[in-house]
C-alpha cells in the first residue's frame, strides 16, 4: 500500500505558518519545469522511457542533497485510488494533469508538504515549493536549491539560446511559473476587479481561478502568476510579480476600508448571514459554500467575527472539496449527497449542533 498520509488531513503543515499579508494572500508557489537530456518528453515517451525517467529522478533521493528539506515520500500515481488522487489535487500537491493522464507518473512530497516534485507530468520534472502568505521570493529561493540538487546528478535539457527546454513552448527559458493565491472579496464587491485584472495582464502576468488553467475563480480566490518565461531572469519575474501583488494588496485593503466606512451595516449583515447559513444549513452546494466561506473569511479579517481562525478557514476550503468530502465520509457520493455532507462537515467544524 502506498503511503497516503498526505490525503488524510486537509491542511498541510506548511499552511499553518503565520505570514505577512496572510489576510489577503493565502499562499505563494513557485514551480519549475525541467527535462532530462536525450529522452523524449512524457507526451511521446514509451513506457520504458518514462520508466527510465522515473527511475533516474527517484534515484536522487538516495543522495543527501534533498535531505535538508525533510524526508521525501514517493507516491506512484498508478497505485493511488481516484479519491486519493483528487485530494492531492485539492491540496495542490499534484496537478490534475498528473492525476489523469500521466504514464509512470509519481510525486515526491516532503514531510510538511511544502515541497512536491512531480515526475512525468507534462515535463519529466516539475519542482514545486509552497509557502503561506506573500513569500514568493522565499519559494523561489527554495525551488532553485532543490533544482540544483537534482541537476547535480542528472543532465538537464538546456540550450544556450532557449534556456531550459520544456514540452510546451509557453514554459521554455526559465521553466518557472511563480504564482500567488489571493482572496479579493472587496475588489469584487466594489466592481474594481476587472479593471485590476486587465491591468495585471499588461505587465506579463496572468490571473486564473484557484485550480489553475481552465477553472473559474470560486470564493473570490484569484491566482496571479507570470505569463512570460523567456527573455527575463527569474529574479526579474519574481520581483515583477511581487511588486504587482503588493499593489493589489494595497487596493484590496483600501477597498475594504471604504466598504467599512461607507457600508458597515451592509457588510456586517452579509458576513453574519453567511456565518448563519454555514452554521445551520442542511444542504450546501460547493459554489455557495465557497462564497459563504469567503464572506466569513472577510468578516474575520475585518474584525466583525472572532472565529474561525485563518487556519480553520484554510482547512475548510480544502475539506469542502468533493475529493476530501468523499475521503472523510467514505465511499463515492453523488452531488446531492456531497452537498449534504458538506453542510454537515461545516457545521461540525464551526461547532454548531442542533
Amino acid at each position: 500500500m502506498p503511503n497516503i498520509r498526505f490525503t488524510e488531513k486537509p491542511l498541510s503543515d506548511w499552511m499553518r505558518g503565520e505570514a505577512a499579508d496572510s489576510e489577503i494572500v493565502i499562499s505563494s508557489r513557485v514551480r519549475i519545469a525541467r527535462n532530462l537530456q536525450h529522452l523524449p518528453f512524457p507526451i511521446l515517451a514509451t513506457n520504458q522511457q518514462s520508466e527510465e525517467a522515473l527511475q533516474r529522478l527517484t534515484d536522487i533521493l538516495q543522495y543527501d542533497d534533498l535531505g535538508r528539506f525533510g524526508t521525501f515520500h514517493t507516491l506512484k500515481i498508478s497505485e493511488l485510488d481516484e479519491i486519493d488522487k483528487q485530494v492531492l489535487v485539492e491540496k495542490h500537491l499534484i496537478s490534475p494533469n498528473l492525476a489523469n493522464e500521466s504514464r509512470n507518473g509519481a510525486v515526491l512530497i516532503s514531510d510538511d508538504e511544502s515541497v512536491s516534485v512531480m515526475i512525468n507530468e507534462e515535463d519529466h520534472l516539475r519542482i514545486q515549493c509552497l509557502y503561506p502568505g506573500c513569500q514568493v521570493r522565499e519559494a523561489w529561493e527554495r525551488a532553485t536549491v532543490i533544482d540544483d540538487a537534482f541537476e547535480a546528478h542528472v543532465d538537464y535539457a538546456f540550450d544556450d539560446r532557449r534556456g531550459f527546454l520544456t514540452s510546451c513552448p509557453t514554459n521554455v527559458g526559465t521553466g518557472m511559473r511563480a504564482s500567488v493565491m489571493m482572496h479579493l472579496p472587496a475588489l469584487v464587491m466594489t466592481h474594481q476587479i476587472n479593471r485590476i485584472l486587465s491591468a495585471v495582464s499588461q505587465v506579463g502576468l496572468t490571473v486564473r481561478g484557484i485550480y489553475g488553467e481552465g477553472s473559474e475563480a470560486v470564493g473570490n480566490l484569484f491566482q496571479v502568476s507570470n505569463q512570460i518565461t523567456l527573455g527575463q531572469t527569474e529574479a526579474e519575474i519574481i520581483e515583477n510579480l511581487h511588486g504587482v501583488v503588493l499593489q493589489i494588496i494595497e487596493h484590496e485593503r483600501s477597498a475594504r476600508e471604504r466598504l467599512m466606512n461607507e457600508s458597515m451595516l451592509r457588510i456586517t449583515d452579509r458576513v453574519m448571514r453567511s456565518f448563519g447559513i454555514l452554521s445551520y444549513a442542511a444542504v450546501l452546494e460547493s459554489k455557495e459554500a465557497a462564497q459563504r466561506l469567503s464572506d466569513v473569511r472577510l468578516g474575520v479579517d475585518l474584525g466583525i467575527l472572532e472565529r474561525p481562525s485563518t487556519a480553520a478557514m484554510n482547512e475548510l476550503n480544502v475539506m469542502t472539496q468533493p475529493g476530501f468530502l468523499q475521503k472523510s465520509f467514505g465511499d463515492k457520493m453523488n452531488t446531492g449527497e456531497r452537498d449534504m455532507y458538506r453542510a454537515k462537515l461545516i457545521r461540525q467544524k464551526l461547532g454548531t449542533t442542533l
Partner: protein
C-alpha cells in the same frame, strides 16, 4: 434562444469564431459545447493553452509556407523523436529536446509572440552550464569596455580588454 446544435436545450454559450477572416457566430448549450470540444475558459475540458498555441502555429504555416522556392515548414521533422512540424502545430507541444533544434528556423516568431523575446537570460545549470556563464561574463565585460571607450577612458578599457582575452583563452583551452 435554443442551442443551434441540439435545438432542445437553451443556448448558454455565445461566441464568435474567426478563421481566415471569416466570422462565424455560435449559440450552443454546454452539453453540445463539451461534445464538440468548443469550450471557453472557466469550464472543464476548457479551451486550453495548447489549442490556442496550435491556432497560432497553423496561422504561422498558412501565411509563410506559400512563398515559392521555400520548402514548407510542414516538411520539417525532428530526427530524434520523429515529430513533424505539422504534428507540433497540432499538439502545441514539442516531442523531445531536439525538436527545438530541428524546428529552430520557425520558432523565433512563435516565441516573440508568446514571450515577447527569443533568448533565455535566466538561470544556467550549475554543473553543465559553466561555459555559458563565462560567455555571458565576456559579453558583459565587452559592453562595459565599449562604455569606457566612448568616454575616452582608455586605461580602464585596456584593463577590461585583458580580462576578456584571458577569459576567452580559458574557454578555448577547455
Amino acid at each position: 434562444m435554443l442551442c443551434q446544435e441540439c435545438n432542445k436545450r437553451p443556448a448558454t454559450l455565445h461566441f464568435t469564431k474567426i478563421v481566415n477572416g471569416e466570422k462565424t457566430e455560435f449559440h450552443i448549450c454546454e452539453t453540445c459545447a463539451k461534445e464538440k470540444g468548443e469550450m471557453i475558459p472557466g469550464t472543464p475540458n476548457g479551451f486550453s493553452i495548447h489549442s490556442l498555441l496550435s491556432g497560432m502555429l497553423d496561422f504561422e504555416s498558412s501565411t509563410k509556407s506559400q512563398s515559392p522556392g521555400h520548402s514548407g515548414p510542414q516538411n520539417l521533422q525532428c530526427k530524434d523523436c520523429g515529430m513533424t512540424y505539422a504534428q507540433f502545430s497540432k499538439l502545441g507541444r514539442f516531442g523531445c529536446p531536439s525538436c527545438y533544434q530541428y524546428f529552430d528556423s520557425r520558432l523565433d516568431p512563435l516565441f516573440k509572440r508568446v514571450h515577447g523575446s527569443t533568448s533565455h537570460v535566466g538561470k544556467v545549470p550549475v554543473r553543465t552550464g559553466g561555459r555559458l556563464k563565462v560567455k555571458r561574463q565576456i559579453d558583459d565585460l565587452k559592453k562595459e569596455m565599449q562604455q569606457h571607450i566612448v568616454q575616452e577612458e582608455f586605461e580602464s578599457a585596456a584593463e577590461l580588454r585583458d580580462q576578456i582575452r584571458k577569459l576567452e583563452k580559458e574557454m578555448i583551452e577547455e
